[in-house]
């Protein structure tokens, strides 16, 4: 049975619909990431789970009990805010213990709990300091400590890493993952960073303009994006989304891509499924991730449907571990991911391998995935 269940949730601010018919469920101990561009309603959704914002209609249930209408302190949740929201006039220890103090937990119990959390997060030496005397990373830890000490049913995180510098962000990301593996508490985590979403989540919900675009495991989201928005949003560098035509050829369908100053490139699909057949002779959007577009030597040997084509390389971007090459297909720039030591330079024509197992196809009108 699902542990956190959001059903048919709507949220309006005045006349404006901010969240529209959201349905999400997650199992106990799961790590749900809400991801989407800025302003899509992630924080609003998290705040409705916390009870900080009332919902317009629908329901939210934790462990089988509806919490809609319950005060935030009665929902057995803990929240880490983007700005950390540490009480500036209290010490670190005071911040961590404030909730317990309000609930009338005796002093010696509070001390014990503070010490335990401080040990987990290694902030024991900071307990007597005020938040203004802490670095960004330390504040972040204290904010997590304040949540951990409650030992809630659900943790809510609102972009907890977005105020940290890049290096620290990666470290803290790993640490949050480790904490989750250790505590096994259900987490709902908001971010606009798709890499954070991919690395942390057991389930991802992609939002755009208050609509749930797709809900699934990171692999589902990455490999079978429901629409062009999800395909484009998740993954870095982003998926190549190219205008193409499907044409019948010998042995099945061909994806035909226009090329500048050359005849169109035709890629035969060996494993075409039925849905795609209906689009034979029509315009489609062909989606291929950079790592599925490689030099022939670096292509996935287990791929069932590989196609090769000669392409003119326009730009080469060595990135250390890989080399990215930019060519032009279907009227758009296309990024291919080659081996780091691929001998290639701009202006050169070279053969690229398309792993069509990993390719996805979209209807250009509805933008939904066909196959």
């Amino acid at each position: 049975m699902s542990f956190l269940k959001i059903s048919n949730l709507y949220k309006n601010y005045g006349q404006v619909e901010i969240l529209k018919d959201i349905n999400i469920e997650i199992d106990k101990g799961g790590f749900l990431v809400l991801v989407g561009p800025s302003g899509c309603g992630k924080s609003t959704l998290l705040n409705t789970i916390a009870g900080l914002e009332p919902i317009t209609s629908g329901d939210i249930a934790i462990n089988g009990n509806s919490v809609a209408g319950l005060h935030p302190s009665k929902r057995d949740i803990a929240m880490v805010f983007q700005s950390y929201a540490l009480y500036p006039n209290m010490t670190v220890a005071g911040n961590i213990a404030f909730g317990m103090e309000i609930r009338g937990v005796p002093k010696d119990e509070r001390e014990k709990a503070i010490k335990q959390v401080a040990d987990i997060l290694q902030i024991g030496h900071l307990l007597d300091r005020k938040p203004s005397q802490l670095s960004g990373g330390q504040r972040q830890r204290v904010a997590m400590g304040r949540a951990l000490v409650r030992n809630p049913q659900v943790f809510l995180f609102d972009e907890p890493l977005s105020n940290l510098d890049a290096k620290l962000r990666v470290d803290m990301r790993t640490e949050i993952k480790r904490l989750h593996q250790r505590m096994k508490t259900t987490i709902v985590y908001v971010t606009h960073d798709q890499i954070e979403a991919m690395t942390l989540a057991t389930k991802i919900a992609v939002l755009k303009d208050g609509l749930l675009q797709q809900f699934g495991t990171p692999a589902e989201i990455y490999n079978s994006p429901a629409n062009m928005f999800v395909a484009d949003f998740m993954g870095s560098p982003a998926m190549n989304l190219l205008s193409a035509r499907l044409e019948g050829g010998e042995g099945g369908l061909n994806v035909v891509l226009d090329r500048p100053s050359d005849k169109p490139l035709a890629l035969p699909i060996k494993m075409a499924n039925g849905a795609l057949g209906a689009y034979s002779g029509k315009e489609i959007i062909f989606g291929v991730r950079p790592e599925a577009l490689t030099d022939p030597d670096g292509a996935d040997r287990n791929a069932k449907s590989l196609a090769e084509g000669e392409c003119l390389i326009e730009v080469v971007e060595p990135a250390g571990s890989d080399t990215f090459a930019v060519t032009k297909l279907g009227g758009k720039e296309v990024v291919a991911r080659l081996r780091a030591d691929a001998a290639i330079h701009a202006g050169q024509k070279t053969r690229l391998a398309f792993n069509l197992d990993k390719a996805v196809f979209f209807d250009p009108k509805s933008q939904l995935r066909i196959a």
Binding site: A50, P72, S73, A85, Y87
Partner: protein
């Protein structure tokens, strides 16, 4: 060559600076002159003042006018000095300032962190209170004080001052709390803190600068008020400003200018002290809203 021009520049700089100081000193003297006249003449016997030289230092120094102004001068018909009225003012100002500041802080808290439908209209109406000339409300206020049985009492004056200060105190606190991070309030809500707990434990400890501003503002206005004091006070609740007026206008006998000067300084002393002690915080508090930490 360049050394010479630098020399000229330096000399010009010194000249400009001297000019600035001269002007500033002139203005300072201009502003301080009345105070000087008051202090000097309050320390002279009356004969010396009659000789006509207001600016001269006393030939014979005396604090008798001060003692007289404080405890024996004729105020209206009673030879009580200003002392009882000074106490009246204190008993009026302290609760009125406290009440209006606390209510203003609560209003600011609600208007920024517990927003409700129409909150901006409520705030607009409260702002209006800052612009209403007090003369307009004299008669309705008198009626209400009469109906509640508070006419002529210090409690009545406290009430009137607290209510008419509320517009300003609400404005001060609302603008200050507007910049206060709402996430802190939300964190405290999740921690289970109640409406008043959040106010007391989270907002108030960070409100030092704006409290200072509000207290100075309210203290000065209420202490210096004459209109409400003269309209609503009774025999036992006359505030200092009104008493000072009565002292100066007492028609019996000769005009004791030295006593009047001493009385005027006594009346102004508390506000002066408040400014000297906390003026720094006043400026800092006014700036605090503008520069977010």
């Amino acid at each position: 060559m360049s050394a010479a021009s630098q020399d000229v520049a330096t000399r010009n700089g010194i000249f400009a600076r001297a000019l600035i100081y001269a002007v500033l000193i002139l203005f300072a003297v201009y502003y301080l002159l009345p105070l000087y006249v008051m202090v000097v003449n309050s320390l002279k016997p009356l004969d010396e003042i009659r000789q006509g030289n207001m600016l001269a230092l006393p030939q014979q120094w005396t604090i008798a006018p001060w003692l007289s102004a404080w405890s024996t001068a004729q105020i209206g018909v009673q030879p009580t000095g200003l002392k009882p009225y000074f106490l009246n003012s204190v008993m009026m100002v302290v609760p009125a300032v406290a009440l209006s500041t606390i209510l203003g802080a609560l209003n600011g808290y609600v208007l920024t962190k517990w927003r409700f439908k129409g909150d901006n209209i409520v705030f607009g109406l409260m702002l209006l209170a800052c612009f209403i000339p007090f003369q307009i409300v004299l008669i309705p206020s008198a009626r209400i004080l009469g109906m509640t049985g508070l006419a002529g009492t210090i409690t009545g004056l406290v009430l009137i001052h607290a209510i008419y200060g509320l517009g300003f105190t609400t404005l001060f606190f609302r603008n200050y709390y507007e910049a206060f991070p709402t996430e802190l309030v939300r964190a405290a809500q999740i921690d289970g803190a109640s409406f008043f707990q959040i106010f007391r434990r989270i907002l108030l400890p960070s409100s030092g600068p704006i409290i200072v501003v509000t207290v100075i503002w309210q203290f000065t206005n209420i202490w210096n008020d004459f209109l409400f004091g003269s309209s609503f006070s009774g025999f036992n609740s006359i505030p200092l400003t009104v008493a000072l007026n009565n002292l100066v206008n007492s028609s019996t006998g000769v005009k004791e200018y030295n006593v009047h000067f001493a009385g005027a300084i006594l009346a102004a002393l508390p506000t002066l002290i408040v400014y000297i002690v906390s003026g720094r915080y006043f400026v800092r508090g006014l700036m605090a809203g503008a520069v977010k930490g």
